[in-house]
């Protein structure tokens, strides 16, 4: 692994620049992606480097942005289309779910759709209920889409490369609160296969399954529990569709206890899907019900105090781990 440290956002930007340099069929279209470089600076410098032909500023038209990508992909280009906030996925859902996701299947396999949707999800910036959501469960519910939610700069670059090179429609979600987080990233372009989870900490007592920013919180919770003598195994799914179930089940059969953690609301979330899959395929190995940590079933609140009690964190994850192990919290009277 390289010892060069860059941010999550720089990893995205650098990866995209290298992908575009290597493949003239790749272009980017979206709101403010060109001259401005994107509202989160995701595309800084790319307009100067590649010009307006390949860095295309579009109207505020999410349906037409995705449609632009679909039409261009179906005739052989490799578009990257940007939705400024993950919440705006809902504005474009017909083009995403009824068109992009289904074309290949409906056309009997005759279409190839190498389109990547890039977007920014997650809470923590007091952006309110329409600019903070984690809507991955909606996307994962649609057959035909691949959905990627990296938690480190290294994964960001490698997974972005895999998304753009994939011949299926993919969605890669940056977490807005992690844009400045740093980590080691090789300078050269590399690819992390889609659908492969990473075991980011090995343990034997309980498995934490997570992705995106919560994968980082899980590592912090595991550190806390280690001080209490509990060895957590932490799995970062990285790709949430398709899910690397083999890695999850192997760990479940080893530790016999699972806590699934995501920032999205618990109700109808990926935790529910994972809990079902695990009990269907590893029921006899479980020593406790699969536990879930997620946001409560409400819109994301605006006020910082409300928002911080809404978004799960390492402390809440640690509590859930203790509960699944039937262990009292340190200092509590049991």
């Amino acid at each position: 692994m390289s010892d060069r440290q860059i941010t999550y956002l720089q990893a995205f930007n650098e990866g995209l620049r290298q992908i575009m340099a290597a493949d003239p069929d790749v272009f980017v279209a979206g709101e403010d992606v060109g001259r401005t470089g994107g509202v989160f600076h995701s595309f800084d410098g790319l307009f100067d480097h590649f010009g307006g032909r390949r860095m295309v500023d579009t109207p505020i038209s999410e349906q037409a942005i995705i449609g632009l990508g679909i039409g261009a992909a179906v005739v052989g280009l490799r578009p990257v289309v940007d939705l400024m906030f993950m919440d705006f996925v809902l504005v474009a859902m017909d083009q995403i779910a009824n068109q992009a996701a289904k074309l290949k299947y409906m056309f009997g396999g005759n279409a190839k759709l190498p389109m990547t949707i890039t977007t920014n999800g997650g809470a923590g910036l007091s952006a309110g209920a329409q600019h903070s959501q984690s809507l991955e469960a909606m996307l994962c519910h649609v057959p035909g889409l691949k959905v990627v939610m990296p938690s480190t700069p290294y994964d960001m670059k490698g997974l972005l490369t895999a998304c753009v090179r994939d011949d299926n429609p993919t969605v890669i979600v940056k977490h807005k609160k992690m844009l400045g987080s740093k980590g080691p990233v090789p300078e050269e372009l590399y690819e992390i296969p889609l659908g492969s989870a990473a075991i980011t900490r090995a343990g034997i007592d309980v498995t934490l399954v997570s992705y995106s920013r919560m994968a980082v919180e899980c590592l912090a919770a595991a550190e806390t529990l280690a001080a209490e003598g509990v060895e957590c195994e932490v799995i970062d799914l990285r790709t949430v569709a398709p899910i690397d179930l083999d890695t999850v089940l192997t760990s479940a059969r080893k530790t016999n206890r699972i806590v699934v953690v995501h920032e999205a609301v618990r109700t109808g979330g990926l935790g529910a899907e994972l809990a079902a899959q695990i009990q269907e395929q590893a029921f006899d190995h479980l020593d406790a019900p699969v536990a879930r940590v997620g946001a409560p079933f409400s819109p994301v609140p605006f006020s910082p105090t409300l928002e911080s009690s809404y978004v799960p964190d390492a402390a809440r994850i640690a509590d859930e781990i203790r509960a699944t192990l039937h262990r009292p919290a340190p200092g509590s009277i049991s």
């Binding site: 449609g67 632009l68 039409g71 005739v75 083009q95 409906m106 994939d166």
Partner: protein, 325 residues
Amino acid sequence: MSPSPETVKDLHERMVRIRFFEEAAGRLFEANRIPGFIHLYVGQEAIASGVCVALRDDDQITSTHRGHGHLVAKGGDLNKMMAELMGKATGYCQGKGGSMHICDLDLNMLGANGIVGGGVPIAVGAGFANKYRGNDTVSVAFFGDGTTNIGAFHEAANMAASLQLPVLFVCENNEYAEYTPRETTMAIKDVVERAAAYGMPGVVVDGMDAIAVHEATTQALQTVRAGEGPSFLECKTYRYYNHHGIQTLGMKYRSDDEVEEWKGRDAIVALERVMADDDIATRFEIDAIRASVQAEVDAAIEFAEASPMPEPAALLDNVTTETLR
């Protein structure tokens, strides 16, 4: 400028092919030999034919839920079409798509579409790719009057105009959005007025006159192909059958007199009159074309009927490029 005799014959033959295919599909649907829904194109043949005859093979089109006519006009294989309508493994989409998702990417027909307005942004995307590659290929979005009330249409039209993309918007105004007359859903006289809002040229064409549609398309394509941005055609037309299925008369939302009036202006009959009057083809030659197309349609039915249904094992093929198990 009148089109060459060859062009007129081409227009005619494509219209007849659409008409006979659709009439056959309607009968098969009524006999429960075609499952699902069917939205017949009968009555509107002059538009698909008029536009597609004016296109090059490399030009792309997107279509609608009423999409058989567009694929036939682009040169679609009737065997594969009929087989797809019947849900057979030999169909265009191996039975995965059906009437509303029929497509032929080799012919640059990028698909019928079950969502009203769904195909228009995709046509704009194809147009973007043509400009990106620096070629002079154009894309055509076919859609109905009802589509111009949905947001995707407006986003796509504005996108094409603001990025100056080589896209031709072809509105087939058959005056009804499913079962609702246009005047109750639109406060403008002509749909083409909407083109002006996006700064694109637009004209109204008699959609029952294949030569007029061909001529207007040829005109519009001159600027579109030259990279001067998108253009818009509103073709006034009528569908003889109900929105769905094969009923023609006795509908609550339109009068029988109206249907008969439009049928009296039938585009195929009108063109055949021109062909005979202008010595482009004799009645005998016209009958021979009709007979040969009918034989083609009959053969397609035979092919489709004899074809196998898809194997259940194919169910999960092509959800993505990797087969899921």
